[in-house]
Structures are given as structure tokens and as C-alpha cells.
Symmetry: C2
Subunit: 225 residues, 2 copies
């Protein structure tokens, strides 16, 4: 029997890498999709390539879409990335409608290759205040996907899997380590050094460090090579 | 009082051009968005540019995203475009999840510029069997948009306007002519000649011609310059 195909959104960060490992462990034939959206740091794409190769996906596609066209985020504009620690509210690193764009492209990819399963590494627990990382967003996208596509209308229902949605960062890392993941391959930093090394001070780095510390570990991306 | 901003998806075809004219007539400050998705015919983009300029939009952005990466449609692949007339079912010219991708990008654009109104020229009457041209799809996207964005969560509700959704093609054309539109600027053909001239035989050309004929008119794109 052939395996069910799934499209897995892969940024090369800790969350999406764990989700990719989980989809493989669930027995899916994985088609990874990395969306290049005008990130300031191509180092993310290099991480996605490393991860896709190391984990042995069936296909890894890289789709480009320029979300810098209209700006509106510290991740795509020249705004400063905050380094003072987490603050309440929606942060400046929020990219307008990013997960909607990502899931739309994953849906297009899935429909074209006959996949009905989409995986995304959104997380509502340590989600840094992004509206498109909440369970109700995922549910609304699944409802949309089943109305939007030939597959949804004629065939198998489309399912949006967000398996780490309600997990803490420490739980995610524990799960990944159980699956044999090397988190040294991943990249999550919002503001890396020229060398590609994580800054250790942005929201994203702080959340990782704290979670590794909770498990009595040091984040491998911060250990000198 | 400043005008409300709206993002209008503009392909340069008859439907989206009419919708753009309607948004301007409604008093919106219009930011047109053309999504280049690996169409085989750049002539569509030229038409969008002509229309945006002729109608006097505030801004016209062109976003590129390559939906050829995964294929799945006669409009992006090398499949033959059918010329034998309309057939039942979802046609090969359907592009997987196209309107979901278009609306996602329009949503990202809208959120970044502080617009809460999105316009799209989908049509459920002469819709050629595409699942993402139905009223329930538009409603589902509006629900999603209000969960997905900072604007939807914190501020004004986001509205997806699909003003020609329930109009026949003849009604659309009548409305556009009442607004002073020159449909000679538009381009709807799926399979134009090298010169950019419409083929007159594909589904899209047939639907236009029949509608102009219903009004006792000839489609201006088929009249020799």
C-alpha cells in the first residue's frame, strides 16, 4: 500500500522541523514546502535545506513570494528586532497574514500533488502573540480549504495538522529528541550574526533557550562548534 | 475626511476590471494588486497595468508567486486549453487553490497598509465550475481573515467584497459600461495569439462574446483595431 502524501511547511526552525519529524513518524510521504517571503536572513532557507536532506523527505520545494512589497513587519522591513524580552500584545516581528499565505501555498501544492494532509508548526502556547497561531485560525483554515478546492469538494476531506499547537516549547523539544532530531540543524533566530549564528537575545532565541534549560539542556545552536 | 482604503485584486480581465471600477465608484482609495503566478501569458499583466493606469488607482502592486512549482492546471502547465465549448465538472483550466492564494496575498497587503476592505471579482453564475468562485468560499475566507490578522482581532472587521458574485456576465458588462469602462483595455483569453489578441474560442472568450451578444454588442477585444 502506498503511503498517504502530506505537505509539510518547513521554515528550518525548531517547531517546523519537529512537525516534519512527526509527519514522517506518522508514516506520511512528506513533501516539504519552504516559503521564501523576503526574509532578511537567507540562513533560514539554508537550515530548511539541511533539515529536509537530513530527515529524508520525498520532495522539498521552495516557493518565493515577496511579502516586502507592502512591508509592515520587523522581519521584512528595516525595523529593529526587539531584544528586551517578551512584551504583551502583537509584536513588531508579526508578518501580516503570514500563516494564511503559507497555508494557501501549501494547499495549492497539496491539491496539485493529490495530498489531503497539510502540516504546520504553529504553536499557541509560546506563540509570541501572533493571531495566526491560534487553534481557531487553524480550524477556520481547514473549513476554508474544504470549500476552496477540487479535492475538498469532490474527494477526501483536507486536514490541517497542527500537532504542536498546544505543546509547550519544552514538550516540543522532548518529542523531537525522542524522534532522534538534532536541533543543531535548525535555525530560529530573528536577528543572526553574519556567520549565521543565533543572536541569543531575540524573542525567538530566548524562548528556545528557556525550553532547553527546562529540560536541563543547552540549546545546541548556542554551543560553540 | 480621508477615504477608506481597499485592496482590489486585478487580473486585467473583464470581471476584476469591473470590480475595480465599482470600488472606485463606491469612494474607496484603491490599491490594486495583480498576482503573477506563472501565467503562460504575460499579456494579462500588461492588461492589468493598462487598466490600473486608465482608471487611476492610488497604487498598483504586482506580486509574484510561482504556482508552476507543483503544476496541476492547463493555465500553468503545458496542457492544451479546451476549445470545444463548456463541459460539466471542474475544468482543466482550474488552478489549484488560486483564489485562496490571491486573497491571502490581498489580505497581507491590506493589513500592512491599514485597509479592511478587499475586493475580488469572483463570479458564481458563469463561474466555469471552479470551487473557489462560490459564495460559501468567500464567506469562509472572510471568517478566516478576521481570525488571521491583527486588524481582525484588534480593530475593524475585515470585509471581503465580491460585488459581481451573483451577476450574470451580461449584467457585469452592463454595470461596467454604465460606469464608463472601456472593455477594449481588458484581457480574458486563456490562449491568446502571439500578438496578444484573444483566441475567441476558449471558455473565457466564449462567455464574454455571448454576454456582449446578449446586450446586442460585439466584444471590443474581437474587433479589429
Amino acid at each position: 500500500m502506498s503511503r498517504r502524501r502530506a505537505v509539510v511547511l518547513l521554515s528550518g526552525g525548531l517547531d517546523s522541523t519537529t512537525v516534519l519529524a512527526m509527519a514522517l513518524a506518522d508514516g506520511f510521504e512528506v513533501h516539504a514546502l519552504t516559503v521564501v517571503y523576503g526574509q532578511r536572513h537567507r540562513v533560514e532557507i539554508d537550515a530548511a535545506r539541511r533539515v529536509a536532506q537530513a530527515l529524508g523527505v520525498t520532495e522539498h520545494r521552495i516557493a518565493e513570494v515577496d511579502l516586502r512589497l507592502w512591508g509592515g513587519s520587523a522581519l521584512t522591513d528595516d525595523l529593529d528586532v526587539p531584544k528586551g524580552g517578551l512584551e504583551p500584545g502583537i509584536p513588531v516581528t508579526y508578518v501580516p497574514a503570514r500563516n494564511t499565505v503559507f497555508l494557501s501555498l501549501a494547499l495549492a501544492n497539496a491539491e496539485a500533488i493529490g495530498a489531503c494532509d497539510l502540516f504546520i508548526g504553529v504553536n499557541a502556547v509560546d506563540y509570541s502573540g501572533y493571531p495566526d497561531c491560534r487553534p481557531e485560525f487553524i480550524q477556520a483554515f481547514e473549513a476554508l480549504a474544504n470549500l476552496a478546492t477540487k479535492a475538498g469538494v469532490e474527494g477526501d476531506p483536507i486536514r490541517i495538522h497542527a500537532p504542536i499547537l498546544m505543546m509547550t516549547k519544552a514538550e516540543i523539544i522532548r518529542r523531537g529528541l525522542d524522534l532522534g532530531l538534532d536541533y543543531g540543524l535548525t535555525h530560529s533566530c530573528y536577528d543572526p550574526f553574519e556567520s549565521g549564528r543565533a543572536c541569543g537575545a531575540c524573542d525567538s532565541c530566548r524562548i528556545r533557550q528557556a525550553a532547553f534549560a527546562e529540560l536541563g539542556l543547552v540549546d545546541p545552536v548556542l554551543i560553540d562548534g
